[in-house]
């Protein structure tokens, strides 16, 4: 069932995107990542945590895509699976024309320097025993990015670009503040001359004024080196500032995807609307018009059927409880999965599907009870 549904997602996406021939560095089709839940004794799989459950998007070269959503919606898992730090469950990831999951070990090693990751917490992602120069240079040496005799110069140059003085090379991570450490993390990723960097909440652990420094640095590096970012964050104002396109995730599914201006000007999905209305605005006169969502996020191990958001949605209709919404292009370049934007034909299909689902649920015996 899930398989079928996901294919359906992918097909509708591919059809909608196909006519535009643009230079995409990354293409994620229908990516699924489930974590099995094992029983305590026999280690049988008794269920799956559906962390990422059918996500598709494309990122054009030299652009930034912001990926946002509440905690536990699978945005970090998505980022890690794209880099093949974890094996996928289904779907595929095409990086610059190559299927990342079809590569052999050796091929994967070759492609690794081109896709890098900046972690959330700069306190735990740097080894406390290795000096900064070595942290940045280790992978450079491993991948033979530069000849041996230029190695030292190269590291100095990379550090300089990231705003780190060269005498930091002999120092250890504990001597630095959070902002400096995040610069070291960025320098480590940048040293391999990547094309694509996944930034997994790079500024969440930092103070406001330091955040600004790091965001500016990321933007400046992007212009200088033509980088492409996948920027994962739950801070909407940061996402709006840095991204060209934005994807919103809820419980493992992408619910809306559009260019930044469009999605912030006119969010379509009810979850996105609630999310945007909850952004705290630094102005005491601002009339708060929050849509306060009821309840909390359901467990990804046992997500509600139909539209996953229907348990908390203001506009929940009968059909939402049984039929997952289609992923469709509601406006040009503005994708959304919600039954509110169905046309007549889709509505009819959805109604049919709902009746079928209801019948399945009730079983033939209970038919008489239904009025």
């Amino acid at each position: 069932m899930a398989e079928k549904m996901n294919n359906f997602y992918a097909d509708s996406f591919a059809q909608a995107r196909a006519p535009r021939a643009d230079d995409c560095i990354l293409e994620v089709n229908n990516l699924v990542k489930w974590f099995p839940i094992k029983s305590s004794f026999f280690k049988r799989t008794i269920g799956n945590v559906k962390a990422v459950d059918g996500v598709s998007f494309k990122i054009r070269r030299n652009e930034t895509m912001g990926l946002m959503g509440g905690s536990g919606c699978g945005k970090s898992t998505c980022g890690r699976t794209i880099l093949r730090l974890q094996e996928k469950t289904a779907g595929d990831v095409i990086f610059d024309g190559q299927d990342v999951f079809a590569l052999s070990r050796e091929q994967l090693r070759k492609i690794r320097p081109r896709m890098q990751l900046v972690f959330q917490d700069p306190y735990s992602s740097l080894s406390p025993r290795i000096p900064v120069g070595e942290i940045i240079g280790e992978a450079v040496r491993e991948h033979d990015i530069v000849p041996k005799e230029e190695f030292d110069d190269y590291i100095t140059r990379v550090m300089d670009v990231c705003g780190l003085p060269s005498y930091y090379k002999e120092r250890y991570p504990h001597e630095f503040s959070g902002g400096q450490r995040q610069r070291i993390c960025i320098a480590r990723a940048l040293a391999l001359a990547p094309d694509f960097i996944v930034c997994d909440e790079p500024v969440s652990a930092l103070d406001v004024s330091i955040q600004a420094q790091i965001i500016n640095l990321l933007k400046q590096l992007q212009e200088e080196f033509g980088l492409t970012y996948l920027f994962i964050s739950h801070d909407l104002s940061v996402v709006e500032h840095i991204s060209d396109t934005v994807g919103v995730m809820y419980l493992g599914n992408m619910v809306e995807y559009a260019p930044t201006e469009k999605i912030f000007a006119r969010p379509l999905n009810p979850y996105t609307k609630a999310l945007f209305s909850a952004i705290p605005v630094p102005d005491p006169d601002y009339k708060l018009n929050r849509i306060i969502l009821k309840g909390s996020i359901p467990s990804p191990a046992n997500p509600p059927r139909g539209c996953k958001f229907h348990t908390r949605c203001d506009h929940c209709m009968e059909v939402c409880k049984y039929v997952p919404p289609r992923w469709k292009e509601v406006e040009p370049e503005h994708f959304c999965a919600c039954h509110q934007y169905n046309d007549a034909e889709e509505n009819r299909q959805a109604q049919e599907e709902m009746l079928r689902a209801k019948k399945e649920e009730n079983g033939p015996v209970k038919d008489t009870e239904v009025l």
Partner: protein, 393 residues
């Protein structure tokens, strides 16, 4: 680099001297605090203004660490009026949490000590406690009862091995020993309902791990409000939660404040949260208050260069800028603070006077007070923050 090393280097002899000095002072202060039969006159004072719940008057909280005295809070002045929300804003390490911990007397003792100034807590009958001198025995009757605290991380604030019901009961039983078991349970269930938990009977017998982050924070709020305190300290209550849950919790706090007639001291680094919640805002930098006023004063007419910088560095939805402003440099070392304005080295608006000593508090309007020499001629000088000379203790 060599120079840098020199300044932080401490010889064995110096280190021993520091340790000896710290031990002498902390021992003396601890002894004073443990004395339960202290003369009440020593810790009872009068409020400056009867309409305030708490008055911080030149509070100095120092940490006697192995590398020297860290002046985490150094001459902080501000008031919390009745039935209002006061937001305390600042970067990490600016002393905002330490200020609230001094009020609760929950500092990491014996290293952390409030060595000077007064924290006056209104008793309601015309007198006030001076929290700085109040002995532990009296403090225990206040903590959780009159003043209570909501912590940042709901996961670590709750005990994983006790049921939710027990943890809320504990607070009520401690402060109202005369209540019967049934009454305590009834009160707990009432609190659970108050914080918006639908399945209160079920949650009563659950363990913390069975609840989501937002629910856990609701439990923490229920524990804090169980005795209807006059002051609630919320130390970054929503930092660990995501945006939609944050909206729920802030909404709840605001409603409960009105219901219980309490005041809230809201500590946060998120300017957006403060703008939506607070009536008064206090901006702290490096252990001192740099600017305070009503939310309107701070957000519409920020005056201190630090506040202005902080506002500019936060991206705002709907306002597109190419580059975010960032405040150059970093916070000075807390062990050896300069004797001039702490912000001077990072400030882009310095004037001639800035070369002098630390700027005084200057009142620019009825509610707006700023510590910056740029407004020296525009307002009335209220006074300079005073440090405590630790050698004289």
């Amino acid at each position: 680099m060599a120079e840098k090393k020199k300044s932080s280097y401490i010889s064995g002899k110096e280190s021993r001297k520091i340790t000896k000095f710290n031990r002498r002072i902390t021992k003396k202060l601890e002894k004073e605090r443990a004395d339960a039969n202290k003369d009440p006159a020593l810790y009872t004072t009068k409020m400056r203004d009867e309409n305030n719940v708490v008055e911080f008057d030149n509070v100095c909280t120092y940490f006697f660490s192995d590398v020297g005295v860290v002046k985490a809070v150094d001459g902080v002045n501000f008031d919390i009026p009745k039935h209002t929300t006061v937001g305390v804003v600042g970067e990490s390490g600016c002393g905002k949490s330490v200020t609230s911990l001094s009020l609760m007397q929950l500092l990491q003792r014996p290293t952390g000590q409030t060595v000077g100034g007064q924290i006056r807590f209104n008793k309601g009958d015309g007198t006030a406690y001076n929290i700085v001198n109040t002995p532990n025995a009296i403090m225990e009757t206040l903590r959780g009862n009159k003043i209570s605290m909501i912590f940042q991380e709901p996961m670590t604030a709750l005990n994983p091995v006790f049921r939710i019901g027990q943890q809320i009961n504990e607070v009520i039983e401690l402060h109202y020993p005369e209540m019967s078991e049934e009454d305590v349970k009834a009160r707990t269930l009432e609190m659970l309902e108050l914080v918006g938990i639908a399945n209160k009977e079920g949650v009563y017998s659950m363990y913390p791990h069975e609840l989501s982050g937002g629910m856990r924070q609701r439990i923490c709020i229920a524990i804090a409000l169980a005795c209807s305190p006059t002051l609630i300290i919320a130390d970054e209550p929503t930092t660990a939660l995501d945006v939609t849950i944050q909206a729920q919790i802030l909404d709840l706090l605001q409603n409960l404040k009105d219901k219980l007639n309490s005041s809230i001291m809201l500590i946060t680094h998120d300017l957006g949260v403060v703008a939506g919640m607070a009536d008064y805002v206090v901006v702290m930098y490096a252990g001192r208050v740099v600017e305070k006023g009503t939310a309107d004063d701070i957000f519409h007419h920020p005056m201190h260069p630090y506040t202005i910088g902080l506002m500019k560095s936060k991206p705002v939805v709907g306002q597109k800028v190419d580059m975010l402003y960032n405040i150059p440099g970093s916070v000075p070392n807390p062990v050896s603070m300069p004797d001039y304005c702490y912000f001077r080295d990072r400030c882009e608006m310095t004037c001639g006077r800035c070369r002098g000593s630390y700027p005084p508090e200057i009142r620019v309007s009825d509610t707006h007070v700023v510590s910056c020499y740029r407004y020296y001629d525009e307002g009335t000088v209220l006074g300079y923050p005073k440090s405590v000379n630790v050698e004289e203790l």
